[in-house]
Structure formats: structure tokens, C-alpha cells
Amino acid sequence: MANSEQQKHDSLVERVSARLGARVLETDRSYGDLVFVVEKAAVHEVLSYLKNDEKFDLLLDIAGVDCVKLPEYRERFELEYILYATGKDHRVRVRVPVPEFALDVPTATDLWRAANWAEREAHEMFGFVFTGHPCLKRLITHQQFEGHPLRKDYPVMQGQWCATTSSLEEELEE
């Protein structure tokens, strides 16, 4: 089982490097997983290649990361898209370094509808701005909440007083 997974990784890496060679900064194969590290400008191109040509039909999750306390990192923030191809049982991740002062990332909502809430969560927790997202508002935290709670500089015990119920008018017409 493990071998066939590595073979799938090998052949995908080959195809991706032939097609999008310069777009992929690095491939990470630790723990037997396959991770493409992609620069921000190319993320939509890479994702749409994986979705449309390689049939990664399931967007499992989008994880934001604040790398500021890691010993080494490319940029302060990172986004990690976890993709799964149900037809051939293949899971890959796409990692995108995002600089602290340019948090805009192109949206993936046109590729997977699951990206809608996943991106809203990454937006409120880390402050990423997904350009082209239909309704980029806070989802889990309150609309009056200030700051981004999963950033490393947000104190773990800091609460906020939020009282006004959100109107939801914008989501209604989304």
C-alpha cells in the first residue's frame, strides 16, 4: 500500500513539474505525504490544474499557519490546501507562503464550493484576504471581534465583549 502511494506521488510530481515546473518552488515528501510549495501568484493556476486535469475533486481543508515562532520559514503566514482525488485515492497538499504585509490570496471558491467556509475561517483566524470570495465575512467568531485569534501574537486568555447580533442580510443574498 505504502509503495503504491509513493508511485502515485512520483508520477504526479513528474506531470506537475512538466506542466508547471517553475511554479512549484519545492516538493516536500516528509512522512510519505506529498506537498507542493507554490508561490502565491501561481496558486490558482496550480489548484485549477490539480482540480481539472488531475481530478482532485475533494477539497478536504484549508489550514492557515502563523509561522512566526517556527525556527525557519519563508514568509510569516502559510496556507495549506489539503486535496484528495477520490477516483484514485490520492492525497496531496499545496502549501502557499503568504507575506505578512500582502495577505491577499486568490480564492478557490470557483473550483470547490467547500472553499467558501474554509476560506472564511482562515480569513477570520489569520487575516488572509481571499480576493474574489463571494462573502468574506467572519464565520465562527463574532462580527464585532477584533484581531485574529489564531495568530501567535494573540494572547490565549484574551476574551472580547461582543453583544450585537449580526443581521446576516449579506449572507442571505450571497
Binding site: S30, L60, A118, H142
Partner: protein, 435 residues
């Protein structure tokens, strides 16, 4: 591990075959949903009506948790809807960055609190893969048994509550009567009835009690009868059919785009089950089938879950008589606490215990995504380790987060009363939805 992985195509029904756990001829009549018009042909579009805005929730007996659905109504039809979540947000992902790996386990209990053990096992499995260890055979089989017991319990709550919301209370008690016996088994094993925290990184908290096998078998006896009773009451029940067939329909392609996994995806006819496609804990050596639905409506979601309970029963019966002997924890002093006897009587054991409690388990620096088939779908843990005893970041992939994302689109165009039927069929658990 053998390479017996089944081909996905094997599960896809051929043309003309019955598609689900039931056959299409079971239904008494095909239902007609075109009848919104009055006797003279007038429909709501002919009447000059004003839209009405209502809130369902945040606290409502039928929402199974706190979240809010805001609807724009035209008559009893929902024109537009918006879903507001986050009322149960407790900052799981923030607080676990300040805890040791083993201290995270009690927090995972509070994700999907209908099946806490599955969360425990999913988290431990991810950390163990990071540490590069495999738990002993005995532990693997015990974990399989516990996961399947929890799958049955979770489905019982989901199906029972779903039918309650449509107005049939009796089934709920049939299921809860049987579920209570399983709860007693887990209480005898873990000491808890809801928040079990039974696993540890590298194994289990303690071994099975002597009479575990007999207890499980006794508890399982009542389940087929409970399933028979419930299906007998609802399978051809006109009210249930009217309320569930053709309600909340979604096709497989859309469901995948929305990130659906688990029984809700399988109800659309797409047979994806992680236990089959990427088996862990020797799931490939158990014989069980993956039930699928045909239409992707509330009815299919209920019956896929009921059929899955029967499959889980099969797995437990195969596993319970074949629990291998041997240790339950990996033999690694950096990961598992030493035996109490050793701690109290030897200096090395005491130092080992102290170091492990103070510093914790230390996975090598790196990132991992690992997932298991939870009762609700794919439960994933994305973990970053920086080499210390505390996780740098844990992102949970809760299955019902993506189901809930879809709710807006499922209820738009439906009737107000369908909201609760659809909502309960998705099995939204606010604990893992909001984290």
C-alpha cells in the same frame, strides 16, 4: 498488511441493480411534489405576497446545538437562507497550542461529543504516525471495536433524533434503550459515559476489563432488534416517506464539490469509505460492505446510517473473539509512561515518569495530515510539530463543517418544516462544527 484494497468501481452499482440497502420497489407509491397549486390553479406566484423574515435558533429544540438559520419566506417556502455558526466556539485550536500532546486528548472528546472515542483515536493515530510508531496488534483491534461501537451509538443518536424531528418519538426510545447498554459497556471500560479520553499516544490508558467480551456481546444482542423495530416503523410509513423522500436532494458531484464525506456522501450513491480505500488498523481484513443510497435525500441518509450500523455489528462480532494478547502500549520509554510499580520502586522509573509528564511526548519537527473515517465522515488532524512537547498548530477537519456549509443551498426552495428534517439528517454536531 495485505494489498487487498478493493477497486472503487466494484462498489458502484451496475445498471439495473438495486442501488441501496433497500430496493426501489419497496415504496408504496411515487410521490408527486408538483401540487403547490390550489384547486383553481392559483399558485403563490399569482398572489401579491410580502416576504417574511424569521430566525430559527440560536436556541431551538430541533437544531441539536446552537446555531442560527435566518430565512426569507414566501408563504411556507424558503426563498433565501443564511446560516450563522460559532455559538459554541471554544477556541480548541488555540488552547491546544498550549497543551502537551497527551493533554490534548480530553479536548478532542469535546469535538464530536456523540462519539468521543473516535476523536481520541483519530488524534492519537495522527501523532503516532508522526512519531513513526505503530501501536501493538491488541491495541489496534481494541480501537477498531471501540470505533465501531461508537459508530453505532453516533448513528443511533442521529437517526433517532432525525425521526423525532419529523414527529416520531417512539423510534428514539427503541434506539436509546439499546444505546444505553453500549453506554454501560463503555462506562465499565473507561469510567465515563460521554467524555472518555481512553486512548493515549502510543496505546491505551489501561487494558480491557476481564469480562469485556461478554459485556459487549450482551449489549450487542439488543441492537438488531432495535434496528428491526425502527425500520419496521418507518420504512413504509407514509408520513415518514412524505417528509423524507425527495427532501434535501444532492447529487454526488455537487456533494464532492461541497467537501462531503461519510454517510451523507454515500447516500448520494458514491461509495467512498476510508476504511475501504485506505485501510488502517487492518480494516481490510474484516469483511464488511459499504452501504450506499441512490437519491441523496433525507431518506437515503437515514437508511445508509441504519445499514452502516449493521455493518459495524459485523465488524465487532469478527473482532471481539479475535482480540490478540500481548501489550497494549508501544515499548518506548520516551512515549509511554512506565508502570506504576516501576515508578514507585525504582529511581529510573520515577525519573522517566517525571520527565514524560513535565516535558511530554516530542514528535520530530514536521507537518502531517492524517484522517480516519469518523461516523460523520472524514475526521482529519493537520498537526505541525516544532520538536517540543507542545503541538505548534493543530487544525481539525470536522466533517460536519462542510455539511453545514451546504445547508443554505439544501433548504432554499424547501418548506420551513423541511429545515429540521434536513438539518438532523446531516448530523450537525456543534462541538466539532465550531471547535
Amino acid at each position: 498488511m495485505t494489498d487487498k484494497k478493493p477497486n472503487l468501481d466494484d462498489f458502484v452499482p451496475k445498471a439495473g441493480e438495486a442501488k441501496g440497502p433497500y430496493s426501489a420497489g419497496d415504496f408504496s407509491a411515487d410521490l408527486d411534489y408538483s401540487g403547490d397549486a390550489a384547486a383553481d390553479g392559483t399558485t403563490l406566484d399569482d398572489i401579491d405576497t410580502q416576504p417574511m423574515y424569521i430566525n430559527i435558533g440560536p436556541t431551538h429544540p430541533a437544531t441539536h446545538g446552537t446555531f442560527r438559520v435566518y430565512c426569507k419566506l414566501d408563504g411556507e417556502r424558503i426563498k433565501k437562507a443564511a446560516v450563522d455558526i460559532g455559538y459554541l466556539h471554544r477556541g480548541f485550536e488555540k488552547i491546544v497550542e498550549h497543551r502537551k500532546y497527551n493533554q490534548v486528548i480530553p479536548y478532542t472528546d469535546r469535538l464530536n461529543y456523540c462519539s468521543g472515542l473516535v476523536n481520541n483515536i483519530g488524534f492519537c493515530k495522527a501523532v503516532e504516525r508522526m512519531l513513526g510508531i505503530e501501536v501493538p496488534e491488541r491495541t489496534q483491534v481494541i480501537r477498531v471495536i471501540l470505533m465501531e461501537i461508537q459508530r453505532i451509538m453516533d448513528h443511533m443518536i442521529c437517526v433517532g433524533a432525525n425521526i423525532v424531528d419529523i414527529g416520531a418519538l417512539t423510534n428514539f426510545w427503541y434506539f436509546f434503550n439499546a444505546r444505553e447498554k453500549l453506554n454501560d459497556v463503555l462506562e465499565a471500560l473507561t469510567g465515563a459515559r460521554l467524555t472518555y479520553s481512553y486512548t493515549r499516544v502510543g496505546g491505551l490508558a489501561w487494558d480491557l476489563p476481564e469480562d469485556f467480551r461478554e459485556r459487549v456481546k450482551a449489549a450487542l444482542e439488543g441492537i438488531p432488534k432495535a434496528i428491526r423495530d425502527v425500520t419496521g416503523l418507518i420504512k413504509k410509513n407514509r408520513i415518514f416517506l412524505d417528509r423524507s423522500r425527495g427532501v434535501g436532494v444532492i447529487d454526488a458531484e455537487k456533494a464532492l464539490s461541497f467537501g462531503w464525506t461519510g454517510p451523507c456522501l454515500r447516500a448520494t450513491g458514491y461509495p467512498m469509505d476510508l476504511r475501504k480505500v485506505r485501510p488502517y488498523y487492518h480494516y481490510d481484513q474484516f469483511s464488511f460492505d459499504v452501504p450506499i443510497g441512490a437519491n441523496g435525500d433525507v431518506y437515503d441518509r437515514v437508511f445508509v446510517r441504519i445499514a452502516e450500523m449493521e455493518e459495524s455489528l459485523r465488524i465487532i462480532y469478527q473482532a471481539i473473539d479475535n482480540v490478540p494478547g500481548g501489550p497494549i502500549n508501544v515499548d518506548n520509554k520516551d512515549i509511554v509512561l512506565p508502570a506504576k510499580d516501576e515508578v514507585h520502586n525504582t529511581m529510573e522509573g520515577l525519573i522517566n515518569h517525571f520527565k514524560l509528564v513535565i516535558e511530554g511526548v516530542k514528535p520530530p519537527p514536521g507537518r502531517i495530515y492524517d484522517s480516519i473515517e469518523a461516523p460523520n465522515g472524514e475526521l482529519g488532524f493537520y498537526i505541525i510539530s516544532d520538536g517540543t512537547g507542545q503541538p505548534y498548530r493543530i487544525k481539525v477537519r470536522p466533517p460536519c463543517f462542510y455539511l453545514m456549509n451546504t445547508l443554505k443551498y439544501l433548504i432554499e426552495g424547501a418548506m420551513v418544516a423541511d429545515i429540521v428534517a434536513i438539518l438532523a439528517g446531516l448530523n450537525i454536531i456543534a462541538g466539532e462544527l465550531d471547535r
